[in-house]
Symmetry: C3
Subunit: 489 residues, 3 copies
């Protein structure tokens, strides 16, 4: 099951696979393409194609229905002068014969030069990347991430909008205040977006529908890895619509841990007018139950509040009824530009991943201090598994191709660590019934907590398997190690 990835192939599975500097580089190239294509802000003249001399092939593998994202990638590739091959319902073709994603990727990577994948399972793009010798772009994987939408969103934020003639000079993202409304739990778009906002130093104001708050692990990463401090709002303001703000600390891009919510800079952050209201639809396909919670509708009345006087109205589209069509002609509405930017942004990303015109992601220094954690790895049938039932690691057709792979993340919990699935990035924390132990399968002993993994010798590590609880380990015949942990010999 060796990954065949050559050293220089880059994948974009998460927005965090790109450094801030790389993202700015993509925006720079996108702006040049936009100038050639014609900025949709300014006029509607028909775009001429931009042939950069390549005849590379982009394959779109969409295991979930999509028109917008797929066609924008295809348009981008064609505008670059490349070619496309498309499978927009692989679930009805090879998958019907029982084929795994891992095999499909290894085959299709011989037919194309770059692959965009969309999949209903969280973490599917990561699995695809593990098996692909050519660049994989995540076009949306379950409720996990949708990084290219975030690139469009950020690019839109850096533009002045409809209001000025000269929109060449980008706005700074740092200090910008972005309100995010709707289904923050099920929307992969939001997850990629908030990470990026935090990394660029923007203030995030969540306005979730009831029961659709940001997932706990996303909230936690914002605070612990992207240095966002949270401000409890209702304590001081009595405003019960908005509960919390995420504000990045003074020195962004450096990892730090926070014990819990702190109230800082309340005066400045809370009073700052909103720069953008980002609206998302209810992601009904991510929920098994039928009923939808009451949902805030963003309309002309809502936007009359002085706080939003200069706020751009954004939406990743498609919309259902959470965003009123009466705003379509409002000067603050930028959601159709946001969609239009999809082509130049994706042209720029493809350009850099395929090293067209001598542009390449490889040439950027790493300007984003992505936290690195110890990676635990065991076969799928050994020890603790991902708790997210929609994770690709639970897909029956992939059982031979996935493994139990977890980041071991420092934590303030009793034993000092939690696990994060390498595929879907869901956190597995200790609970009343889950008190991780590390079993040593050669000695039939176990130690409490995950500390043992960090001290194990390289040749011992393969024998150490995480078990969900002490009770569970005992049930399987392991006994508590009277000493401490397996030290390096």
């Amino acid at each position: 099951m060796a990954s065949r990835t050559p050293p220089l192939t880059r994948h974009v599975v998460s927005i965090n696979d790109l450094t801030n500097q790389e993202i700015e580089g993509i925006f720079d190239i996108a702006q040049r393409y936009l100038d050639e294509l014609g900025d949709p802000n300014l006029d509607y003249r028909i775009a001429q194609s931009t042939d950069v001399g390549s005849k590379f092939i982009l394959a779109t593998l969409f295991y979930e229905p999509s028109t917008r994202t797929r066609l924008s990638f295809e348009s981008a590739m064609l505008r670059l002068g490349g070619e496309i091959i498309t499978s927009d319902d692989p679930a009805a073709s090879s998958a019907k014969k029982g084929e795994s994603l891992a095999d499909t990727i290894r085959v299709i990577s011989n037919y194309s030069d770059i692959i965009v994948i969309r999949h209903p399972r969280d973490g599917a793009a990561k699995l695809a990347a593990e098996y692909s010798p050519i660049p994989i772009i995540n076009g949306g994987d379950g409720a996990h991430e949708h990084p290219t939408q975030t690139l469009c969103d950020l690019f839109t934020l850096t533009k002045k909008g409809k209001r000025t003639e000269n929109n060449k000079k980008p706005r700074r993202l740092e200090g910008m205040k972005v309100a995010i409304s709707g289904d923050l739990k099920g929307s992969r778009t939001i997850h990629s977006f908030v990470y990026a906002l935090a990394r660029f130093g923007a203030i995030i104001e969540p306005m979730p529908a009831a029961g659709m708050e940001l997932p706990a692990h996303v909230d936690r990463r914002l605070r612990e890895e992207f240095q966002s401090r949270t401000i409890a709002k209702n304590a001081q303001s009595g405003d019960d619509q908005i509960d919390v703000l995420y504000v990045t600390s003074d020195k962004p891009h450096q990892q730090s841990l926070f014990a819990g919510p702190e109230v800082v800079d309340y005066g400045v952050a809370i009073q700052k007018k909103v720069d953008a209201v980002y609206v998302t639809r209810f992601q009904k396909e991510r929920y098994s139950e039928e009923k939808q919670a009451p949902y805030l509708k963003i309309d002309a009345k809502f936007m009359k509040d002085a706080r939003y006087a200069d706020a751009s109205v954004m939406h990743p589209l498609p919309r259902v009824d959470e965003l009123d069509v009466d705003l379509d002609t409002d000067r603050r509405a930028v959601y159709f530009q946001q969609a239009a930017y999809g082509v130049p942004i994706r042209m720029a990303l493809i350009t850099m991943l395929l090293n067209l015109k001598n542009k390449s992601l490889q040439k950027f220094n790493d300007g984003f201090a992505k936290p690195t954690y110890f990676v635990y790895r065991q076969p799928i049938d050994r020890g603790v598994r991902c708790i997210n039932k929609n994770c690709i690691s639970h897909e029956p057709s992939e059982q031979q191709y996935v493994a139990n792979k977890f980041f071991v993340v420092p934590d303030t919990q009793p034993h000092g660590f939690r696990l994060r699935c390498l595929y879907c990035e869901t956190d597995i924390e200790e609970t009343a019934t889950r008190d991780f132990v590390v079993t040593d399968t050669t000695k039939h002993t176990y130690t409490r907590g995950l500390e043992a993994l960090h001290h194990a010798a390289p040749d011992k590590i393969k024998h150490l398997v995480i078990c969900e609880s002490e009770t569970d380990a005992q049930k399987h015949g392991f006994r508590l190690n009277p000493g401490k942990v397996a030290k390096a010999s």
Copy 2:
């Protein structure tokens, strides 16, 4: 809801969006492409592509299944040297998430330079055109129209068929006699075709299956707008198979109204041999009931009648069993050429809509006096609505994007007008229970008939709402205006 259409963008939603002169211009360009590609009449040499130097992108948005029409558009675009992006089941993709056609069009128009749309709803292409800054071509909308098929059909009629070597010189459509057999009610192909035949002065001989006659509003437009006089046949001939002929008057292209069927030129028109028999399948997908009426089968025996001795046999395809395969080798069968002409005809249409090779529809004078009517417009929740339940104005996902828009068409009815839906072009006539009144929502009064609309001041017109009946208006608290109508102040 402002339409963003720039002034020079032309859409082809109805065959009546093109003037006669423009249609002839398209045929001229199509013939040149045909010469380059190889006429399918003459040989089967493999076609070489014709690169006109563009890299424009054609998007095909097919909300209804199709192989033939979609692939012929795509082939045409590729033969021109352009590129294609395709969504052949949008109903399963973005529409599944609840997206409206209006939003989809505004997004996809950023990814492409021209859009072909097929949709099960009558009038959907018109709605798309309202929201598109780039040219929309109607690839078939419900039972409404299919204008590019008509271009192929007319072009086929102008060709000599298989019989002669030199088919460069087109035949005149004027005075040609075309019999049309099958489902004249549900076939959008037929509706576009008969309008065009009438406009070019051809004689139309309907041979509908029982209960599948031309819709009343199509019949009416033929007689009233395209100056076709009807000839009652059975009165004189005793022929109970054919009831009526449509014959254009001496001075075509001038609007006139006829009180009813008149019998003119019986001798010439009825005795003229048929130049083409046009056969159509039963459009089962347009009917909710299961059963099919007895259907005339066109076969060798039928074609033995002396009236059809030199008649081309045409069919838009696909056929089911209304056209016998034994005719495939008959010298009069031209239906496969008709299909083959789909590529050069669509190449020519795209050429003119995209202004390729300096060809453009804009350069033609308006040679077709399309009747113009007063347009009434109110929000979808105010007043009378389209009576065609399959009209796009009744599509739940479009309720925020459509409006009650009607042409106010002069009529011989008691009150002198009827309405015609702007989207699906269905006529709404007065009946025993429908006696239109115009309500004035500021004064809570109403006037009988639609006359009041023509006399309203520009600043008053928005307060005038058509109500389906006097009873209905009274029920809503309006009282009869004692004066006449809202005059311009």
Copy 3:
């Protein structure tokens, strides 16, 4: 129903439509493309396209789901610099309106220059070829054949695999020993493959799952037309896993008939180590019943047998669980290369069928003595029909376009002949209740056996109809011809 095929158009419906010399010619061109694209054996550098200056259009018509085969054809066409149009679910589009394959092909052949078809019915590609003026490539038709997969398979066999740097010099197929495991009955891939192996003089060792042996008519053709002698193994070896080997005789490519299995060259053939193990999945879509027979799983343990020490492991993919993923990193595993070769092989085939770069199949001498038989032809409603219920001749939508067409094949049966369907190539042998007679519809007489067909005068042949049995003929009022057969006058 005249076929419009011009003389020089070549179709590839069966692997037997290509001579051995032509196959070698394809491999030669494929190797040159592979050198340009980068051999997937050696590295993963991104392939640059190979523009040969054409802008031909390839149409893919897939009536059965597929990702792999369709995308590899499309990639091949694009790498050649051509264009593609795609219908990957025609069953949901024109077929839904009741259109026949015969009509679809005649239309699509006007939109493209070459067509790849996949269809669930055996023989569908043959029917398509009968109606197509442009080359048809069979992308898989029911359980019949899949010739381009076989080209990839043979090409893989001629390569040295991963083990050597220099894999330019092809290995000889003659004398190579190939074990074939799995569903040999339902796999069209296998049927094309074994014919080709026999023709090139390889030794075939079938290892079918229980009840999934090679179909009787395939076995028979191997022995009778491709000169394979069978070796009964278990008689001498006691090995009850492998029952038979197919070994070609000394003088291949000459037709001969064998009375039954003979035991020859046992010592050499049985002891020879296996050069390749070819694994296939259970073709569940070809069977109506649910349950699957026990299936041999090819894994590391199986491959430890000394007989397989140097055997390449092949699989046409997709795999389910008949091939263990642990072999993926085994040096003998070549199945991903096999898939990768799909692009250069299909580029080479398209090159020759479209006569690109002055390469053409027409320039090869016929190096393969394909047996020729008398062809019997009657309308579909007259006389004996194909016994394969999945044959395209039984498809309701094609009843007007197919005919009862059979090869009359010499046989050792009592009456000396059997029939073979021209479409699906299923043999119809005489049985206890099937004793073919030839009826003379003008004289109302019949003769026993099929001999009468060979002696009939050209003007009489159309009156001779094969009836399934003497009883059946008598039931329809025919009486035994007192003389012999209808002689040429």
